[in-house]
C-alpha cells in the first residue's frame, strides 16, 4: 500500500519522467507536467497533464505550427505499488494552441467495454471513398449499429470515428514514438541528441512492456529462454503461473 508521501513521490516521478522525455525532444523550455491526486488514506487515482492548459506549442524554425496535449489518468496496480495507466490521450492540433478539432490523436483505455481497440489512433481527416464505405457498414457489432443509426439520422460518418488498433496494452506505442514521429515527419524543432534520447526512452518502455508481456504469457517466456539455452524450472511443488489469455487476446 502506498502512503500519502509515497503516492506524491511516485506521481512526481512519473510526471518527471514524462517531462524529461519532452525536454529530451524539444528542449529545456518545455514546462513541467502537472500531477494531481486527491488526499486519501487509500490509493487515490492520479492525473498528469501538460502545462500550459492550452497545450505544448511545437515549432518549425521557431514558429509554432502544431500543439500537443497530453493527459494520463492513472490508477494503482493490484498490489498498490506502481502507477498503472488507466487511460491516456495524446492529441495533436494545428496552430499554436489546442482548439477545435485535433489533427490526430493516440488514445489508450485500459479496460475496454466496447468493440473498439483499447490502444488506438484516430485521424481527423476527410476521404470521400472512406466515408462512402462507412455508409455501407454492417450492423453486426455495436459500432456498426451506432454508425447505422447515425446515418439514419442524417449525420455523415467521419474518418475520426475509426479507431485504428495499435497493439493493445502491451504493444502500444509510447510517448517517445509519437514525439519521434512529430520530429521526423513534421520537421518540428528538436534539441541536439533528440534521436538517441528518444531511442533510449523507447528502450526503457519496451523493456517494461516486455516484462509485462512475460507475465501475460509465462509459458512462452519459458519456452523461449529454454531455446536460448537457459535452464528454467520452477522450485519443487510450485504451481506454474498461468497465461493470461484475456490480455493476449485483447484488441
Amino acid at each position: 500500500m502506498s502512503s500519502g508521501g509515497d503516492l506524491e513521490a511516485k506521481a512526481r516521478a512519473f510526471a518527471t519522467d514524462l517531462t524529461a522525455t519532452l525536454r529530451n525532444a524539444f528542449g529545456p523550455n518545455v514546462r513541467p507536467l502537472h500531477a494531481r491526486a486527491l488526499r486519501s488514506d487509500g490509493e487515490p487515482p492520479v492525473s498528469v497533464r501538460q502545462t500550459p492548459d492550452t497545450g505544448i506549442p511545437l515549432t518549425v524554425g521557431g514558429v509554432p505550427v502544431l500543439t500537443l496535449t497530453i493527459t494520463y489518468l492513472c490508477t494503482w496496480d493490484t498490489e498498490a505499488r506502481f502507477l498503472a495507466i488507466n487511460a491516456s490521450t495524446l492529441k495533436v492540433y494545428a496552430g499554436a494552441r489546442a482548439s477545435g478539432e485535433p489533427l490526430f490523436r493516440y488514445e489508450y483505455v485500459r479496460d475496454v467495454h466496447s468493440d473498439q481497440a483499447g490502444a488506438h489512433l484516430q485521424v481527423h481527416g476527410h476521404r470521400d471513398a472512406l466515408t462512402y464505405v462507412m455508409t455501407r457498414c454492417g450492423s453486426v457489432t455495436q459500432s456498426g449499429k451506432n454508425l447505422r443509426e447515425q446515418i439514419a439520422e442524417g449525420k455523415a460518418p467521419t474518418m475520426a470515428q475509426l479507431h485504428f488498433p495499435l497493439g493493445g496494452s502491451r504493444f502500444r506505442p509510447c510517448l517517445e514514438d509519437v514525439l519521434d514521429m512529430l520530429v521526423r515527419q513534421f520537421g518540428i524543432d528538436a534539441r541536439e541528441g533528440w534521436r538517441e534520447a528518444l531511442a533510449l526512452g523507447r528502450d526503457r518502455w519496451r523493456r517494461k512492456q516486455t516484462a509485462a508481456a512475460v507475465r501475460d504469457a509465462p509459458s512462452e517466456a519459458v519456452a523461449v529462454l529454454r531455446r536460448l539455452g537457459y535452464d528454467v524450472r520452477l522450485p519443487p511443488g510450485a504451481t506454474p503461473p498461468p497465461d493470461r489469455p484475456e490480455r493476449l487476446r485483447e484488441l
Binding site: R12, A15, A37, S47, L73, A98, G100, H124
Partner: protein, 59 residues
C-alpha cells in the same frame, strides 16, 4: 520539477465549479460543443480539466 497537487474532495469540487464558471457555467452546452469540436482554446482546456477532475472524484 513537476508539481504534484494534492487536493481534498472539497477542493477538487471547488476547483471544478471555478473552472466551469470561467467558461460560462453551462456544462451541457460545453460538452455538446466539445463533441462537435467547436471549442476555443480556453473552453477546450476547461473541458479537459473538468474531465480530469471527474476522474479523480469518481474513485
Amino acid at each position: 520539477m513537476p508539481e504534484v497537487e494534492l487536493m481534498t474532495v472539497e477542493e477538487a469540487r471547488e476547483r471544478r465549479a471555478s473552472v466551469l464558471a470561467t467558461v460560462g457555467g453551462d456544462e451541457a452546452s460545453l460538452r455538446r460543443r466539445g463533441a462537435r469540436y467547436e471549442l476555443d482554446a480556453e473552453e477546450l482546456a476547461a473541458l479537459t480539466e473538468l474531465e480530469e477532475l471527474d476522474y479523480l472524484l469518481q474513485a
